[in-house]
Symmetry: C2
Subunit: 418 residues, 2 copies
Amino acid sequence: MSVEITIAEMAKSARIASRDMAKCPTAKKNEALLTIAGELKRQAEYIKEENKKDLAGAKEAGLSAAFIDRLAIKDATIKSMANGLAEVSALEDPVGSICRTLIRPNGIEVSRMRIPLGVIGIIYESRPNVTIDAAALCLKAGNAVILRGGSEAYYSNMALSGIIKKALSASGLPEEAVQIVPVRERSAVNALLSQEEYIDLIIPRGGESLIRFVVENSRIPVLKHYKGVCHVYVDEDADLEMARRICFNAKVQRPGVCNAMETMLVHKAAAKDFLPLMAKEFSGAGVEIRGCPETCSILPSAKKATEEDWPTEFLDLILAVKVVSDMDEAIKHVAEYGSNHTDAIVTSDYNRARRFLREVDSSVVLVNASTRFNDGGELGLGAEIGISTSKLHAFGPMGLEELTTTKFIVSGNGQIRE
Amino acid sequence: MSVEITIAEMAKSARIASRDMAKCPTAKKNEALLTIAGELKRQAEYIKEENKKDLAGAKEAGLSAAFIDRLAIKDATIKSMANGLAEVSALEDPVGSICRTLIRPNGIEVSRMRIPLGVIGIIYESRPNVTIDAAALCLKAGNAVILRGGSEAYYSNMALSGIIKKALSASGLPEEAVQIVPVRERSAVNALLSQEEYIDLIIPRGGESLIRFVVENSRIPVLKHYKGVCHVYVDEDADLEMARRICFNAKVQRPGVCNAMETMLVHKAAAKDFLPLMAKEFSGAGVEIRGCPETCSILPSAKKATEEDWPTEFLDLILAVKVVSDMDEAIKHVAEYGSNHTDAIVTSDYNRARRFLREVDSSVVLVNASTRFNDGGELGLGAEIGISTSKLHAFGPMGLEELTTTKFIVSGNGQIRE
């Protein structure tokens, strides 16, 4: 059977399964999640055996140690996947809630009811834990999901697929509610992206090149973020001790993630005191500073920043630093070089705090807190399936609610339009 | 200058204007709307003169009388555009509202702030009133907008463009906040659809072929509906007098619009009483009935429906009629042949009313009311810019709020991530 036909049949059966999922009671969905968790633990040895085939293939292909590390399923990975399932089962079910009811002058009662999106396609790279995490969120939100993981994780994903199917069936849910593409060829991705008749949303997770490929080839709406070029602006009258803690946390706590600070902007009035203090702290943590001319004149040991550094997501212990003459210059810099992801100000000034929150066009804007808080769990959404930096449908971390939509429901007693 | 360069420069300047628009106070936006309304009335003769050039061109090209009627700007059209502007100026401004605030355990305060989408592109056909209606809604929601009307309305739209520019400028708003594409070639549409760096959303308005063209060629997210194949299901124990009024209204009040009923489904227990009653009513209004075999056996004068009739949007005084054995069959029919647009049930049964509302997957689902209520004004949204039948971002009529999104704002006092 050709790849195209396989994928089309998967998509069609997912659409049919999505109808049962949409009316599935919460208790049944939770039972399925916990059954998957139990099966993962029970079949841990089998999963690790299958994962070893992938690890062997990756080594043979000469893939990097970091890549192989992300690919490996250890006991801790299985435990974490099972815990994730339990956490999602404990989240409130958004489906079916009714809100914003109003009575129109003619007496019809108009409300919005939250409903699942339908069928979601997830395209991701090597980490097999995404298979479980993404499936759990889609399922809890009442959707059917088609997962397409990296071909390097083929055996691991096929093992997880069998476990999920068994658990769904044991819980009385359709097996087709969670399907994993059993095809290694890249053409499977293209085939998936053309199933606009059956798939409502595509979420790509991975590097920028994967995401660009998906956006350029998809006829289905895509939720994505390309990169996180996050800024912290240290204002004129910032509490410098607070600024030090926030900037250090934003850069160093986990430099390889999308909500880490990549550029620090410092008001010229604070620069002379703040930069040497901060540079000392950063140098102890191995952070390389690439500064604007004014930064370099205050910190002679800093490298010179090039124009390319400002829009770069380093994902590493590297930080671009710029001295600005006021908040307007900082906001302008963020608008020009930022990625609408996460930006923060440290300030004691009420008016500037207020203006920064309003005028910075990013999915999460913070006053006096670390950029690292752009995360579904930290912002109170529960688990997240990714962060959107485009504005349609979702802007910022996407939790269960972002995997749903609302329809209008109208109750009348015979009203007609005059 | 090539079409591509013209469009790219328009898009870039719209993006810059959108930053001013995003922070523009409500009073200033309302002033601009009312200034446009005043100018439209003051320059009515000029607008009609320019419109005559388009009408002459359309006649020369041999376009249909219905087409020419939609293209014509009469005194009533100008009055209606001016009234529309005043209505939009009176609507509540969604931008800047803050909601869903919660305090996290670590003390950060997390809220969502409503913000404009940014730059919106509207691609539509011949009716020049869309130029004003769409511009008004986009502007009130704090967006910049690029409008591309049909080439047949070129002179009319250029006249409106000049008036809008003058009014924006007089109100202190950037002239680039509302731009009308001054290019008649179709290649302007393709150029617009590839400005994903500057344009956040495309809304096509027009026939199915225009919309399919836009979806297939756009790299920018698109909100659209292809067609409205709307159903009314008359249940077993419906109040037949109520069913008669609702079905007549849904089909006949304005048959050429997307929320008109195209298929009537009747429970077999009600068919013998209801169909003759309804057929009499419909025949007086000139409605042609295309029935399933059972319908035709009750109504010998009805035409036989073919398989093609069920998914068809007639937009005319034609109605497909099917007798079903229960509500499950009705819901299944709607799922198979409907377009996720608008579907209604007429019933007296509490449980079936509740199930129909939950299980029918349409943007507006009604109990005991006409499908004609799927309209932003009727559902309490104020004016609308269209109806979405895909689920991402908006599902159903799109008002001001659907032309915005939310970002997260976080206020802390030094919190960092542990």
